[in-house]
Amino acid sequence: MYKLILKLAWKNSFLRRVRTLLVIIMIAVSMSMMLVLEGVYDGLVKNMVDKNKRSQSGDISIFAKEYRVSRDLANRIKNADEIKAQLQSTKGVEAVVLRVKADGLLSTARKSSFASLIGIDLKEEERFGKFSEFLKEGVIDFQKQGAIVGIELAKTLKLRIGSKVVFSTQDIKGEINSIALHVRAIVQTTNIGLDKGAIFIDINQAHKFLGTTSQDAMQIAIRGEDRELYGKLKRAFPNLDVKEFLELQPMMKMMQDVMIIFNSVTFLIVMGVVFIGIFGVMYVSILERVREFGIMISLGMPYRYIRAQIFLESIVVGLLGYLAGAVLGAILLIYLERYGIDLSAFSDALEMWGYEAVIYATIKVSYFTTTFGAIITASLLSVIIPLSRIKKLNPIEVIKADK
C-alpha cells in the first residue's frame, strides 16, 4: 500500500510541473545563497582566529602580572626559560615560544612611526604557527641585522626589502638605545596590531639590545587545544597572568558571537519565507484536489493514507529543493574554499583592518544538516492546515459540490 502511496505522491508532486519547479528553484537558490554567506562569514572569522593564534596569542599566553597594564621591560617574566621547560613536559601542550617585546620609535631617513620590537626564535615560531606562511615579500631570515616588518608598518614607512631602519627605545637601564636593522621580509599576519606596528628580530639580538637575558621574556605563548590545559596552567602559575585566546582577543569573541547571531537570524528569516512559499504551493495543490481526496475516502481509503500521501508530496518537493540547493551550495563553497573571493582591488583597505585581500570560505557539515532539518520541517508544517481541512471533509458533499 505504501508503495502505491509513494508512487501517487511522486506523480502528484509533478502534477503542476512549473509550480513545483518554481518552489524547487526558490529553495535551491535561497539555500545555496545562505550556505555561501555562512561559509564566507565563518571563513573570514576562522581565518582571523587561526592567524591571530599562530602569530601572537597562541591558545594560551602567560605574562608577568603587571605587563598587560604597563608594557614595561620591568614587568617581564624572569624565569621564562624554566617555565618553558616545564610547559614542554606538560600534557596537552603542543608548542611553546618565548617572546621579548619593547615599544619604541622606528625611523627611516625620511619617516618615523611607532613600532613594537618583537624578539622571536624563527625555528620555534615556525613550529608554533608556521611563521613563514605570513610572508608577503622577501625572505624569512634574520642574518646581518635582519628584521621582518608588518605589512601596514612597511606601507607607513615606505619600506622595501633591503631598507635600512633604526629602532629606538629605552633599555632595561632606562637609557635610550638604538639599533640599526635591514628589512629582510614583509609579513601579513592579519593581526591588526602586528601588521600595523611589529618589527621582528632575532630573540638573542633583542636581549642584547634591551639588556635582558635569555631567561627573560615578556610573553610565553602556548599552543594546545586541551580544554583542561588553561585551568591547569592557571593553577600552576598563580603569580603570573595566564590568559586564554578569547580573553586576550575579546574582539574575536565578539566577532564570533555576532556571526552566530547574524547567521541564525538570516537562517530563521530565510526559512520562514521559504515556509510561506512551500505552504502556498502545497495549500493550492491540495485544495484543488479536494474532489479526488473525497473519492478516495468514499472508496474506503483511510485518512491516514491520504495524510501520508500529502506529507510525502511535501517531502518530495522539499527534498528535491534541498538536494538542488545542497549541490549548488556545495559547488560554490568548494570553489570559494579553494580559490576564495579576490578583493585585491581593495587590498589596501582590507589590509588596514587586518583582512586578507582574498577571502576564503569554510565548509561545515552542520550547514547542510541544519538546513536539511529546517527544510523538511518547513515542508511538513506547510501541509498541516490543508490536511486539517481534508480531515473535516464529508466525502459525499465534496463530490456533489464539485460536480
Binding site: V18, I269, V284, A349
Partner: protein
C-alpha cells in the same frame, strides 16, 4: 483595467494578503538595514574627520608618499593668504608634525608631536573639546604639552610633569627639549590618544626651525558636501605644481574603501532576503494566474490585447505594492528618524573595536529621504519583475486554448 485589477485584488484575498505582507516586511527590512549600514559608516567617517583630519588638506607633493624635510611646505603664509579669500572655507591652519621619543626617568614612548595654532585649532578640530585635565593650549603656552591620555598613562605622567623630547628638526639637525605636560585629552580613538601630543606652533617652530614651514595645511569647510568644488577652487587659486590639495575622500581612502566593501557585503546579505521574498511573491502570483487562465482566455476572446493582460497584472501588483509600502515606509522612516537622533548604544563596542578606529558606543541610523526613495524603487522594481513570468505563462496559451483550460 484598473477597476478590474482592484476587484481582482479584493477577490483573491489569500494572494493579496501574502503579497502585501511580504512586501511590507521586505520594505521595512530593506529601509532599516540600509539606514543602519549608512548611519554607522557616516558616523565612523564623521568621528574621524571631527577629531583631526580636515575636509581638505594641502601638502607639498611627495610628503605623503616619500616624506622628509625637503617635502615640507616652505611658504605657508603665501598659501593661507589665498585661502582667506575663499568664502566656503570656515577655518584653516597649518600643522608641523614630527615623530620622536618622549622620555622621563623610567619610561619612554614613541610619539607624534605636532605644532598647532591653538586658536585656529579650536574651530578646526575637536582637540579642545577632548580636554580631560588641565587647560588647552594658547599662543603663550610655551613648552606646554597637550598629551593623549593613553600616552600619558604609558609614560606614567601627570599634569605638571616634565618629559624629554628627542627628534630631528626641519633642517635634519638633532632637536631636543624638555616639555611640561599641561593638559591631557581623550578623543576616544585609542590609537590617536596613545600616540599624539600637541604643542603651540610658535614655540615648536623655534625648536624645529620651522617658521613659515608646515607639514600640511588643514581646512574646515562650511559645508563638507562642497569639498570637491572648493578643492578645485583651491587648486586654481594656489596655482603651484609642487603642491597638492586633497579632499577627505583621498585622505581617508582606505576607510572609504573599507566602508564600500562593508556595504557590498551588506547588500549581498540583504539580497538573500530579497531573492527569497521575490520568489515567494512570484510563486503566489503564478499560482494566482494559473487559477485564472480560463478567465484570461475569456478576456482575450472578448477583445483584450496581450498589453491589456499585462496592464491588468501590473495594476494588481501596483495596488498591492502601494498598499504595503504606504504602510511600511512611514513606519520605517519613523524608526530611522528616531534612531538617527537617539542612536542605539552598545556598551563596550568602542573599547572592543578600538583597533578598528571605532570611537563611540553609539550606532546611529541614517535618515535620508533620497535613500528611502531608491530603497522603495528597488521594492517596486522587484515586485514588477515578479509578474513577468506569470505574464509569459498566460501568453503561452492561445485565447481559445485558455478558455478550455482545466
Amino acid at each position: 483595467m484598473f477597476k478590474l485589477a482592484l476587484k481582482n485584488t479584493l477577490f483573491y484575498k489569500g494572494r493579496s494578503i501574502t503579497t502585501a505582507v511580504l512586501t511590507f516586511a521586505s520594505t521595512i527590512l530593506f529601509i532599516l538595514y540600509i539606514s543602519l549600514l549608512n548611519g554607522s559608516h557616516k558616523s565612523m567617517l564623521e568621528n574621524s574627520l571631527k577629531i583631526y583630519t580636515g575636509a581638505i588638506e594641502i601638502y607639498h607633493k611627495g610628503y605623503r608618499d616619500i616624506g622628509g624635510n625637503e617635502y615640507l611646505i616652505q611658504d605657508v603664509k603665501a598659501i593661507t593668504d589665498k585661502l582667506a579669500k575663499i568664502d566656503a572655507i570656515e577655518a584653516y591652519s597649518s600643522r608641523y608634525e614630527t615623530y620622536g621619543l618622549l622620555s622621563n626617568k623610567e619610561h619612554s614612548a614613541a610619539a607624534m608631536v605636532a605644532g598647532i595654532e591653538p586658536k585656529r585649532e579650536k574651530i578646526l578640530s575637536s582637540l579642545e573639546s577632548a580636554l580631560r585635565e588641565g587647560s588647552f593650549l594658547d599662543e603663550n603656552s610655551a613648552n606646554c604639552l597637550y598629551m593623549g591620555i593613553e600616552l600619558a598613562k604609558k609614560l606614567k605622567l601627570g599634569i605638571g610633569d616634565e618629559v624629554a623630547f628627542i627628534g630631528s628638526a626641519s633642517d635634519g639637525s638633532f632637536a631636543a627639549d624638555i616639555f611640561r605636560v599641561c593638559a591631557t585629552f581623550k578623543t576616544g580613538s585609542f590609537e590617536f590618544d596613545s600616540s599624539a601630543s600637541f604643542i603651540t606652533r610658535s614655540y615648536f617652530d623655534e625648536l624645529m626651525y620651522a617658521k613659515n614651514r608646515a607639514s600640511y595645511i588643514t581646512i574646515k569647510l562650511k559645508n563638507i558636501e562642497d569639498a570637491e568644488e572648493v578643492n578645485s577652487q583651491i587648486i586654481t587659486m594656489i596655482d603651484d605644481e609642487s603642491l597638492e590639495s586633497l579632499t577627505w575622500k583621498i585622505l581617508m581612502k582606505n576607510m572609504v574603501e573599507s566602508m564600500e566593501i562593508d556595504a557590498v557585503f551588506g547588500y549581498i546579505s540583504l539580497s538573500l532576503f530579497m531573492v527569497v521574498i521575490f520568489f515567494v511573491i512570484m510563486i503566489y502570483g503564478f499560482i494566482n494566474v494559473s487559477s485564472r487562465i480560463k478567465g484570461f482566455g475569456i478576456l482575450r476572446c472578448i477583445g483584450l490585447s496581450k498589453r491589456d493582460v499585462f496592464l491588468l497584472l501590473f495594476y494588481e501588483i501596483l495596488i498591492l505594492t502601494i498598499l504595503a509600502t504606504a504602510l511600511a515606509a512611514p513606519i520605517a522612516a519613523y524608526i530611522c528618524y528616531y534612531y538617527s537622533i537617539n542612536p542605539i548604544v552598545i556598551e563596550g563596542i568602542a573599547d572592543m573595536y578600538k583597533d578598528y578606529g571605532i570611537i563611540s558606543n553609539e550606532i546611529p541610523f541614517d535618515f535620508n529621504l533620497v535613500t528611502f526613495g531608491w530603497n522603495l524603487g528597488v521594492i517596486y522594481l522587484l515586485n514588477f519583475l515578479s509578474i513577468l513570468y506569470p505574464y509569459m505563462y498566460i501568453n503561452s496559451f492561445g485565447p481559445f486554448e485558455a478558455t478550455r483550460h482545466v
